[in-house]
């Protein structure tokens, strides 16, 4: 108890002397604000991407691709193969008694991005009525849906936000044919919102593709998946990969999150080391500036342990202040900030940074850790000074 009281007294003495050494102290605060800000921003980007792709898909839906294709763009089925797949066990039936399966065509179109005015890939999906039935989250929010047989398209909210010339009424040149934007759809903020949708049959004839890239089916329930998968993978007429839709979209984000993870680690370690040295520097100079004060307190009988604890705590308090500034800054500047990146198959997927409470807490823990290391060695030096020698520094 006495130890704590002495330590708090020393911390308060030390912190009171901070204004006299603002310049040196700012090094810790600004350093930690920078580290925590950058690391939190990077992690929030990763968290946002993961959240977007996790939000895409439902456990009671399965996506079928040609065997060995890791994205829809490199996958293709004939209509006959599609019929075989639709008949597999576990596929739910609609009100009309037909299987709830949507053969879809996935293509890439080039459009200029708003932010850079340079061409980038927008994902174009040919989709039939079943595609809408299977995906209840897909809702027209402006205008109307496309009419089969007409070269009309509807755009996702995020696609319209990211690309130039996708507003309702615009004419869009895609692979040699002209299409008109007639509506805008929402899809729970998932990856489909970065896409453009057209009627499947119109797309098949316009782009001369007599088949599908993928087949999305609604299952009776999530537990029907294994039977469905087994029946397809053992069918000698087919060569397919079957994935639960949730799993499919999270696997799309895996390489991205891994890259971000590596980036966060590398940047975090480099900046963290820099911050530790900055903190060491600040605290060494603080201890040096207080040589006589510390020696006087020790002459009065304050113990070395109290001096160490107070010095370490001081560094941690300063580092925490910096960490708080960095975390709040990352939240203020980046939370909800929308960017797009190349997602599956080199198309743009838009997502928002998510500065979650966990990331904020991680940032603060990081700053406390840096403060601890930065304070510890100077504190040891302070405690080890010979009192009689240090007093002569007066």
């Amino acid at each position: 108890m006495k130890f704590l009281a002495q330590m708090f007294k020393l911390i308060s003495i030390n912190l009171k002397s901070v204004p006299a050494r603002w310049g040196a102290t700012l090094v810790i605060v600004v350093g930690l604000a920078g580290v925590v800000g950058v690391v939190t921003a990077l992690q929030s980007m990763s968290a946002g991407m993961v959240a977007t792709l996790r939000a895409t898909g439902s456990a009671d839906r399965a996506i079928v691709l040609r065997g060995g294709s890791n994205s829809e763009l490199s996958s293709f089925f004939t209509r006959d193969q599609a019929i075989v797949i639709e008949q597999a066990p576990g596929v739910a039936k609609g009100e009309d008694g037909k299987p709830l399966a949507s053969g879809e065509l996935s293509l890439i179109a080039e459009r200029p991005l708003r932010r850079s005015n340079t061409d980038s890939n927008v994902s174009l999906r040919g989709i039939g009525p079943a595609g809408f039935t299977i995906r209840p989250e897909l809702q027209i929010v402006e205008g109307r849906s496309f009419k089969p047989g007409l070269q009309e398209l509807i755009v996702g909210l995020k696609a319209r936000e990211q690309f130039i010339g996708l507003d309702i009424g615009s004419a869009v040149q895609i692979r040699g044919s002209l299409w008109t934007v007639v509506g805008v759809f929402a899809s729970n903020g998932d990856a489909h919102e970065s896409e453009v949708l057209v009627d499947i049959e119109t797309a098949q004839s316009a782009f001369r593709r007599n088949g599908y890239s993928s087949l999305l089916v609604k299952l009776d329930d999530p537990s029907a998946f294994q039977a469905f998968k087994d029946s397809l993978t053992t069918d000698p007429r087919l060569q397919v990969d079957v994935q639960n839709e949730v799993e499919y979209f999270s696997s799309q984000s895996r390489s991205f999150t891994k890259t971000i993870g590596v980036l966060v680690s590398v940047v975090g370690v480099i900046m963290g080391l820099g911050a530790i040295f900055a903190a060491l520097n600040t605290m060494y100079s603080a201890v040096a500036a207080r040589t006589v004060e510390i020696a006087t307190l020790r002459a009065l009988g304050f113990g070395g342990g109290v001096v160490i604890a107070a010095t370490v705590m001081e560094a941690m308090v300063l580092a925490l202040i910096g960490g708080l500034i960095g975390a709040v800054g990352a939240y203020a500047f980046f939370n909800g900030y929308t960017v797009s990146t190349l997602g599956a198959g080199f198309t743009q997927v838009a997502f928002s940074f998510r500065v979650t409470p966990t990331l904020l807490i991680n940032g603060l823990v990081l700053s406390l850790f840096v403060g601890f290391l930065g304070g510890f060695f100077p504190a040891l030096r302070a405690a080890r000074m010979q009192i009689a020698v240090a007093l002569r520094a007066a």
């Binding site: 004060e293 009065l300 113990g303």
Partner: protein
């Protein structure tokens, strides 16, 4: 009179690399309880070194130091810290007050090492500041006080925990004659009226006149011994 400090065969040697400096050699000294001893001598003669040994700020290379019946030359630094907190009050040439703390907070510092309650600490601080005549400056920061006043605060700090011994290293070395005389008068009163044993290092022969005894040092040894008046 009982002996408060007993020093036998004390030596202090500093080693720096291959060089060794023998600062004190085979030194014997007794200080009686209730004494006011002035230690004089040329610069470098070892006065501060001896004072630091008496005050438990440093340990001798050889010899025995007993204060108030307790051998302190063999204590660990942690034990010494506790011992100092209970038994010694320090007064330094440059006051060594903490600039960010008010006078009363400075005086309170030694009491944080005791088990006194907050209210008791406040009372003792007020009493110590009253003894040095600074009751009205309790909330002032050192920078708002004159040198003489700062040294009074430092003396109050040295007194507040009621130590056995006051050690003062050139307490008037940074003050003008008149202020120095006031400080010395204060120390004399503490010695006479409050029975404090004081060991004071000084360069100033006039300062030494306030003491009851005077000792001279030269090259690490005591050269004269006797009464100043």
């Amino acid at each position: 009179m009982t002996t408060l400090v007993s020093i036998r065969g004390v030596a202090k040697r500093y080693t720096r690399g291959k060089q060794t400096v023998d600062v004190l050699q085979a030194l014997d000294l007794d200080i009686a309880s209730g004494d006011f001893l002035a230690l004089m001598g040329p610069s470098g003669s070892g006065k501060t070194t001896l004072l630091n040994l008496i005050g438990g700020l440093d340990k001798p290379s050889a010899g025995e130091i007993v204060v108030d019946g307790k051998r302190i030359d063999q204590l660990s630094s942690g034990q010494l810290a506790k011992w100092r907190a209970r038994h010694v009050g320090f007064v330094f040439q440059f006051y060594n007050l903490l600039p960010v703390l008010s006078a009363e907070a400075n005086v309170e510092l030694p009491l944080l090492l005791t088990s006194l309650s907050k209210a008791q600490r406040k009372k003792n601080v007020a009493a110590a500041l009253a003894v040095v005549g600074l009751a009205d400056r309790a909330t002032h920061k050192p920078s708002e006080l004159s040198g003489g006043q700062q040294q009074r605060v430092a003396i109050a700090r040295a007194l507040v925990a009621d130590p056995t011994l006051l050690v003062c290293d050139e307490p008037t070395g940074d003050l003008d004659r008149k202020t120095a005389d006031e400080i010395l008068t204060l120390l004399q009163q503490l010695n006479r009226n409050h029975g404090k044993t004081i060991v004071m290092v000084t360069h100033d022969a006039k300062a030494a006149e306030y003491a009851t005894h005077r000792l001279d040092m030269d090259k690490g040894a005591l050269v004269t011994s006797g009464d100043s008046h």
